[in-house]
Symmetry: C2
Subunit: 233 residues, 2 copies
């Protein structure tokens, strides 16, 4: 019997959260959502990460509904299908990677799934590095969502990474033995990480800052990521 539903995208953060829950001797069940994201290849990583951890994974197919909901969105990840920008997460241009209200949808679905299955807790890997352009990763949003889930469905929301940098998550993941090579971050959604989009830059930067070897194969072998990272204060 599971005691916590963990939203698992297949990325580095949620995979580390899954392993943190296992280290705490919890019994997580993982939930992945296909919302017609350009980088839906991340869901294959979610499958690999869950299978390697011997954790059950439920995949929710929201593709058609998401296409209807996001049809007007000016986002590189859903809807109008703009080009994925290159550079650092903190850049203003990264606004085009925002998927409107995505995390409230994911948390509402996770809360409904948990409540339906008699599970009292949802865990979610929002982290401090996501704040600048993603309003739905900020602590105020997460606190509000936690209250909404509690009042609406009697579900407790855990977001233990909300004050952690991505580098701190990499360090924690390395301690926990997270198979980073199975995780996927790239917004471009190709099988090989591009190495130039904001999530790739953030990923490379995080491994570098954490002093942990990055097992990821990147298409871009130049030091582009380092130049955009260094350009930031």
């Amino acid at each position: 019997m599971s005691d916590v539903v963990v939203l698992l995208s297949g990325g580095l953060d949620s995979s580390t959260l899954l392993h943190l829950l296992l280290a705490e001797k919890r019994s997580p069940i993982a939930l992945s959502v296909h919302y017609a994201q350009k980088h839906s290849v991340e869901l294959a990583s979610a499958r690999r990460v869950a299978a390697a951890a011997k954790v059950e994974l439920r995949e929710v197919e929201l593709g058609f509904a998401a296409a209807q909901i996001f049809s007007g969105a000016r986002s590189s990840q859903v809807g109008k299908n703009l080009a994925v920008p290159e550079g650092h997460y903190a850049d203003e241009t990264m606004k085009s990677t925002v998927v409107p209200n995505r995390n409230m949808i994911l948390l509402a679905l996770a809360g409904a799934y948990a409540s339906s299955a008699g599970i009292g807790t949802v865990a979610y890997a929002a982290h401090a590095g996501d704040h600048p352009v993603y309003s739905d990763c900020r602590p105020d949003f997460i606190v509000s969502c936690a209250l909404t889930l509690l009042l609406g469905a009697n579900i407790v929301l855990e977001a233990p990474f909300v004050e952690l940098s991505k580098a701190a998550i990499v360090r924690k993941g390395a301690e926990l033995g997270v198979p980073f090579a199975l995780t996927y971050s790239c917004y471009r959604g190709n099988l090989i990480h591009c190495g130039r989009c904001s999530t790739c830059v953030e990923r490379r930067e995080a491994f570098d800052l954490a002093g942990v070897a990055d097992p990821t194969r990147y298409e871009d072998q130049t030091d582009f990521w380092r130049t955009v990272t260094k350009a930031k204060p």
Copy 2:
């Protein structure tokens, strides 16, 4: 160009809200969600109500995702498909009609749709009569959801009926000329309202208390609804 997204179930409350927005000279666009509800016939009413009001309706097909999400739910309306209970809304037995965390999902989707379409407001017809068994209609939930939508997607939530009884909504609807005969409430989901489930009882009671003629045809022609209504304080 629309300026408000209104969640339209095809029921009496949301149809009245649509007409209230029109009376306020707003430009609503209606959003209906198919979440594999037993009473999905209500969506045909949403179409009729929107068409009669000459308002555009977007229908979101969440059926398959909802079947996955609610698969474990002990609800008469989704998932395990329990029998629809008869009687008054305030009864303990009506808990089986709860769809776990449904309104957070609907509001999250409406917020995403609004944000994607460049619309700043979502309107929602939760009303006072819904409170006893539906935690996700209570004022505290609605305030929390409003904050979550504002922080996560910069969307304003309007819920003008939150302190109104259903009878007060019927009175308001009558003033506004809402075509009540086009609306649908029954949880059983048959083409003819059963007249005995909690929403039918509430609907009959509301028209009676409002002193407005009820144009609805009910399968049950007895005074069952009146006996369960009178049994309540």
